[in-house]
C-alpha cells in the first residue's frame, strides 16, 4: 500500500498490514492446528490441557480411525469418483465451453443459460428424484 505520509507513517502502515495478515492467518490455521495436535494426544492429555503439544506423540487415534472407517476401501472409492469425475468434467465442459464461446446466436445463448442456471438449483430440489434416476439407471449402490 502506497501512502503519502512520510517514512514513519509508512512504517506504521506496513506493521499494521503484517499484523492483520498474521492474525487472519492464525485464525485460518487455528482449527486445523488444534485438530492435528489433539489427534496425537490421549483423551487424558486433551482433558488436562487442550492447547499443549503432546508430551509423546502417539498414533493410537489414527489406528482406531483407520479401522473404523475402512480407510483404504473408502480411499479407493474416493479415488475412483475423483478420477472418473474430474476427467469427465474437464473433457466435456471444455468441449462445451469451447464451442459455446465460439458460436454466437440464440441457441448457443440458450444452452449457456441452461448450464448456468444449474448453479442456482439447490441440491435439495434434486436430491429426492436424483436417487430415483440413479435407481432406474441401475447405478445406485454400484460403486
Amino acid at each position: 500500500v502506497r501512502t503519502h505520509q512520510g517514512p514513519l507513517g509508512q512504517k506504521a502502515a506496513k506493521i499494521g498490514v503484517v499484523l492483520i495478515l498474521t492474525v487472519y492467518a492464525a485464525f485460518t490455521l487455528f482449527p486445523v492446528f488444534m485438530g492435528v495436535v489433539n489427534s496425537l494426544k490421549t483423551e487424558g492429555e486433551i482433558l488436562n490441557n487442550i492447547l499443549a503439544l503432546p508430551a509423546l506423540p502417539q498414533f493410537g487415534n489414527y489406528k482406531v480411525a483407520f479401522e473404523k472407517i475402512h480407510f483404504f476401501r473408502s480411499l479407493l472409492n474416493t479415488l475412483l469418483v475423483v478420477c472418473v469425475g474430474v476427467s469427465g468434467i474437464v473433457l466435456f465442459s471444455a468441449m462445451a465451453g469451447y464451442k459455446l464461446s465460439r458460436t454466437p446466436g440464440r441457441l448457443s445463448y440458450l444452452i449457456f443459460g441452461l448450464f448456468v442456471m444449474s448453479m442456482l438449483v439447490p441440491f435439495h430440489s434434486i436430491m429426492i428424484t436424483l436417487t430415483q434416476v440413479a435407481r432406474t439407471m441401475g447405478i445406485q449402490g454400484s460403486l
Binding site: 503519502h4 495478515l21 485464525f27 485460518t28 490441557n49 464451442k99 458460436t103 444449474s118 429426492i128 434416476v133
Partner: protein, 293 residues
C-alpha cells in the same frame, strides 16, 4: 448443407456429452422435484394424489418453522454477502501490496477450501466446545466464555465465523486475480494527479475490478442461501430449531420427520425461486454499473 446449419450441428455435437449428463442428473431431477411438489407423495407409497398448489400455500402460510428458517437464512445471507466480500477484498488488497510471502499467504488463506465444510464444521465444533472454554479461564479472554453452540444468539455468529473461515479464501483468490489485472500505469497516473491510496483504490481499482465484485456477490448470495453442511455439522439446527436454515428444514421434512417428499420438494422449489429472483436482480443491478473499457 449450409454454413449455419453446419455450425449449429457442430455446436450440438460438442455440447451434447455435457448436456446429456446435465439432463440426466440435474434437469430431470429438478423437473421431477417440481412435479412432486404438486403432489402429496410420501416417498414410499407408490400412489399419490395431485394436490396442486396446496403444498406451497401450506409452506408460505401455515408452516411457522419454515418461515422462521427463511428469516434466519435471510439474516445469514445479508451478513455473509457483506462480510465475506469485504474481508476477501480487504485481504486481497493487503496480500497484493506485499512484496514477500504473497504466495504463502494466499495458500494459507485458501486452505480451508480444501477441507470439506462438514469436516471444517466438526473441527470448529471442537474449538467452540472445548478449546474456547479452556481459553476463557484466562482472565483476559473471559469474553470467550459463551455457550457458542447452545445459545442461539451466539450460535448464529458461530455459523457466520465458520462460513467466513471456509469461504473468504476462495473469493480472495478471485479478487487477487482481478487486482493483478488492473494496469499499474492507471494507478500511477492517479498518484501523479495527487490521489492518495484510498482515492486510487476507490476511483481506479474498484471500478476496474467491479466485474469480479459482481461474481463475488453472486457466489456468496448463491452459496449462503443454500448453506447446509456448516449448520448441519455445527449446531444441527439447534438448540431446538433456533439456527435452522431453509436447506436443513427441507432435509428434515424429507428424511427425518414425516417423509413428506412432496411437501419438501415444494419448499425446495420456493428456495430455488427466491435464489433465482434475488440473484437475477443482483446481476442486473451490478452489470449496469460495470464500466466498459
Amino acid at each position: 448443407m449450409s454454413k449455419s446449419t453446419r455450425k449449429t450441428l457442430m455446436l450440438l455435437v460438442f455440447v451434447l456429452p455435457a448436456l446429456a449428463f446435465y439432463t440426466a442428473f440435474v434437469l430431470i431431477p429438478a423437473l421431477g422435484g417440481f412435479w412432486y411438489s404438486l403432489t402429496d407423495w410420501n416417498g414410499l407409497n407408490p400412489s399419490y394424489r395431485i394436490v396442486g398448489l396446496a403444498n406451497y400455500v401450506e409452506a408460505l402460510t401455515g408452516d411457522l418453522y419454515f418461515l422462521k428458517s427463511l428469516k434466519f437464512t435471510l439474516r445469514f445471507v445479508v451478513y455473509m454477502v457483506f462480510l465475506q466480500n469485504a474481508i476477501a477484498l480487504f485481504l486481497a488488497v493487503l496480500v497484493e501490496g506485499r512484496k514477500r510471502g504473497r504466495i504463502a499467504l494466499r495458500t494459507v488463506f485458501f486452505m480451508p477450501n480444501m477441507v470439506s465444510m462438514i469436516i471444517g464444521g466438526f473441527m470448529w465444533m471442537f474449538v467452540f466446545s472445548r478449546v474456547l472454554p479452556f481459553l476463557a479461564e484466562l482472565p483476559a479472554l473471559r469474553f470467550l466464555d459463551q455457550s457458542w453452540i447452545g445459545d442461539p444468539r451466539f450460535s448464529f455468529w458461530a455459523i457466520v465465523i465458520v462460513s467466513l473461515w471456509g469461504g473468504v479464501g476462495y473469493l480472495m483468490v478471485i479478487y487477487v486475480a482481478a487486482l493483478q489485472g488492473v494496469p499499474a500505469n492507471l494507478k500511477e497516473a492517479a498518484y501523479i494527479d495527487g490521489a492518495n491510496a484510498w482515492h486510487a483504490f476507490r476511483h481506479v481499482t474498484l471500478p476496474m475490478i467491479f466485474p469480479s465484485l459482481t461474481v463475488g456477490v453472486f457466489v456468496t448470495l448463491n452459496s449462503s442461501f443454500k448453506v447446509f453442511d456448516v449448520v448441519y455439522s455445527l449446531t444441527g439446527g439447534g438448540p431446538g430449531r433456533a439456527t435452522q436454515v431453509v436447506a436443513l428444514n427441507i432435509f428434515e421434512e424429507a428424511f427425518k420427520r414425516n417423509n413428506r417428499y412432496g411437501y419438501a420438494s415444494a419448499k425446495a422449489t420456493i428456495l430455488f425461486a427466491i435464489i433465482c429472483g434475488i440473484t437475477l436482480i443482483q446481476l442486473w443491478l451490478m452489470k449496469r454499473r460495470e464500466v466498459e473499457m
